[in-house]
């Protein structure tokens, strides 16, 4: 543990860089970039949570955006019930997500491979249509929030405040997952990814470990949802459509699965790329798609693979 793993160093550098964004862009006279960067951080949290199950657990969920939605709706419901504290909303979002993930995860884990991909999609679509049908929450139109949440009495109305809370959440979750993936539990999860039969022959039953990981990932993703709702001050079922789930997978694979730093980098770059390309042309999707295809063709393991070939960072936990 004493010498920091290269990837951990890369992550710390990344976080430091992100911490400098608000003062730097303010100094450059474009403070609004903080909001753009905040969006990148939110999706980094979502991608990070997906990495736990997809990268470390080899469970390819095509319905992960559902938990983004649960988090967002926790804010809308919280605001309605007088829960304006961010922590309370996070707890609510986690409770909703954990409940849904526990039931649907237990059923989904009966299946493997492509069937798992599709059954997780099915459950997410059900959640999506459930919220579309809730007229009291605006149905398909969604619901605008009157104000952002507060954290322990401090308002997050300012973009700077929300930004650093998001960065704090990302770093906390990164640290937590860094520990988790190196813990006993994380080892069992990785072992199951490598060879489930071998793990059984050691005396493990993969199911409870996979299910717990699935629930943890859901809860962490709902944190991203809570923050997304606060960032946009708006909650909509569009946050949980299958397209969004696909985008989360894309961010993760783009960054390189099974490495926490890759997940963060993938989300940052993917969201940033979309942002930059959209400035130049309405047809930005063409360029974005091209980048994705080229990355797959010429850089297996995504951006992390690319970084490794360029000599930045190496193998290691994290």
């Amino acid at each position: 543990m004493s010498p920091l793993a290269p990837r951990l160093k890369a992550a710390l550098a990344l976080f430091l860089l992100m911490a400098l964004v608000p003062p730097v862009v303010t100094a450059l006279g474009d403070p609004f970039l903080t909001v753009v960067a905040n969006r990148m951080l939110v999706f980094a949290i979502a991608a990070l949570s997906l990495d736990l199950i997809l990268g470390y657990g080899a469970m390819v969920s095509f319905g992960h955006a559902a938990y983004l939605g649960f988090g967002a709706y926790a804010v809308a419901l919280g605001a309605r019930w007088g829960l304006s504290d961010l922590l309370a909303q996070i707890l609510l979002g986690m409770a909703m997500s954990a409940g849904f993930a526990l039931v649907t995860g237990a059923i989904s884990l009966r299946t493997k491979g492509v069937y798992f991909i599709m059954i997780t999609l099915a459950f997410a679509q059900m959640a999506y249509f459930f919220f579309v049908a809730q007229s009291s929450l605006g149905g398909d139109d969604g619901v605008a929030l009157q104000a952002r949440s507060s954290l322990l009495g401090v308002s997050l109305e300012g973009d700077m405040a929300l930004y650093y809370v998001t960065l704090g959440a990302l770093m906390t979750i990164y640290a937590g997952l860094y520990r988790l993936t190196g813990s006993r539990f994380g080892r069992v999860l990785k072992g199951t990814r490598e060879n489930a039969l071998r793990m059984q022959a050691m005396g493990y039953r993969p199911f409870p470990y996979q299910l717990v990981a699935y629930v943890i990932a859901a809860c962490l993703c709902s944190v991203a949802g809570v923050l997304l709702a606060n960032l946009t001050e708006y909650v909509s079922p569009a946050y949980m459509g299958w397209h969004r789930s696909g985008e989360l997978i894309v961010m993760l694979v783009f960054g390189g699965i099974g490495t926490l730093t890759g997940a963060v980098a993938g989300a940052l770059v993917a969201v940033g790329l979309e942002e930059v390309l959209a400035i130049f042309s309405d047809h930005w999707r063409l360029g974005f798609g091209l980048v994705l295809v080229l990355v797959v063709l010429f850089s297996p393991d995504g951006l992390t693979g690319l970084a490794k070939r360029l000599g930045i960072g190496g193998r290691g936990n994290g």
Binding site: I107, V114, A122, M126, V250, G289, L290, L292
Partner: protein, 307 residues
């Protein structure tokens, strides 16, 4: 009521066959070659757009179809050469990422070339009009032609996979490529042809449905998930499964949508039934898939232990 029920059953089966027509090409590429091609939907869309263009240029449905088919075949070959052949040996996730990228590129490319507004394809004179059916309802002749095309694809694929040398090589190649290569078969050429053929099937489906559905840049995405649902319910790699699953999805969706609220009204008060019915209608297909996978984790006809 009974008449209407039977009619809706027929409509459901008809919709199912339509779905199978689109899913057929995907079954081939996904089921046999174990390749997750999210871009299947856009290939279907490209087929429809090429059809619209050629039919417009030649002023004939049939000439348009005859030009659109080889065009999608060539398009498939080009895509295979440029992108797909580099992906066969890669993980499913890499395939997902690359084909997702292709969706973005091709959808946007279609918008650049053809614009965002939906296009029209006229029905051929020969197949327009309708035949009378139960009571006042007339059944469009073109629908019958679509059903025929779907059934023909099903039979053709089944025969191709199970009763031809190519089919045998394919099945063997999918499970053990070195072995087939050792038999002196050029496996990469075989896969190339199969992929292009799958692309052509997708394009064929797009061209055939163009006169009844909107030809627009979103048509590929709206059908993509449904075709995956069909293939997964049927069991990956099973033509028979995909066919039955398509019919099942069509019937459950159609009959559930129309009769669900009526059945719900028997157990709850009308306004609650209407509310619940509306919420459940779009979920039906997904409920069906979750239920099937719960009961049989590899679909109806999936190989046990297969991915």
């Amino acid at each position: 009521m009974t008449n209407l029920f039977l009619l809706q059953l027929l409509n459901g089966a008809q919709f199912g066959i339509l779905l199978f027509l689109v899913a057929a090409g995907l079954t081939l590429v996904f089921g046999i070659m174990d390749f997750i091609n999210l871009a299947h939907g856009v290939l279907y869309m490209v087929g429809a757009y090429l059809m619209a263009t050629f039919a417009g240029l030649t002023d004939s449905f049939w000439l348009g179809l005859m030009l659109a088919l080889p065009a999608t075949l060539i398009f498939g070959l080009v895509l295979e050469f440029l992108v797909f052949r580099r992906l066969y040996d890669r993980s499913h996730l890499d395939q997902v990422l690359a084909t997702f990228g292709l969706i973005l590129m091709l959808s946007e490319g279609v918008r650049i070339l053809w614009g965002s507004a939906p296009l029209n394809v006229d029905m051929p004179e020969l197949l327009s009009g309708s035949v009378p059916l139960a009571g006042p309802l007339k059944y469009p002749v073109y629908r019958i032609a679509v059903i025929a095309a779907g059934l023909a694809s099903a039979v053709g694929l089944w025969a191709l996979i199970n009763h031809t040398r190519v089919g045998m090589l394919l099945r063997a190649g999918a499970s053990n490529r070195p072995m087939v290569a050792a038999l002196g078969v050029d496996i990469s050429r075989l896969f190339m042809l199969v992929f292009a053929f799958g692309a052509m099937l997708a394009g064929f489906a797009g061209a055939i449905v163009a006169p009844i559905l909107s030809v627009d840049p979103g048509m590929g995405e709206s059908i993509l998930i449904l075709t995956f649902v069909v293939i997964v319910i049927g069991g990956v790699g099973s033509i028979r499964g995909a066919f039955l699953a398509a019919i099942l999805v069509g019937v459950v969706d159609t009959v559930g949508r129309t009769f669900g609220p009526i059945w719900l009204r028997m157990v709850m008060d009308p306004s609650a039934a209407a509310q619940t019915g509306r919420m459940l209608a779009p979920m039906l297909v997904y409920l069906l898939m979750a239920a099937v996978l719960f009961w049989s984790p590899t679909g109806l006809f999936g190989r046990k232990g297969a991915k």
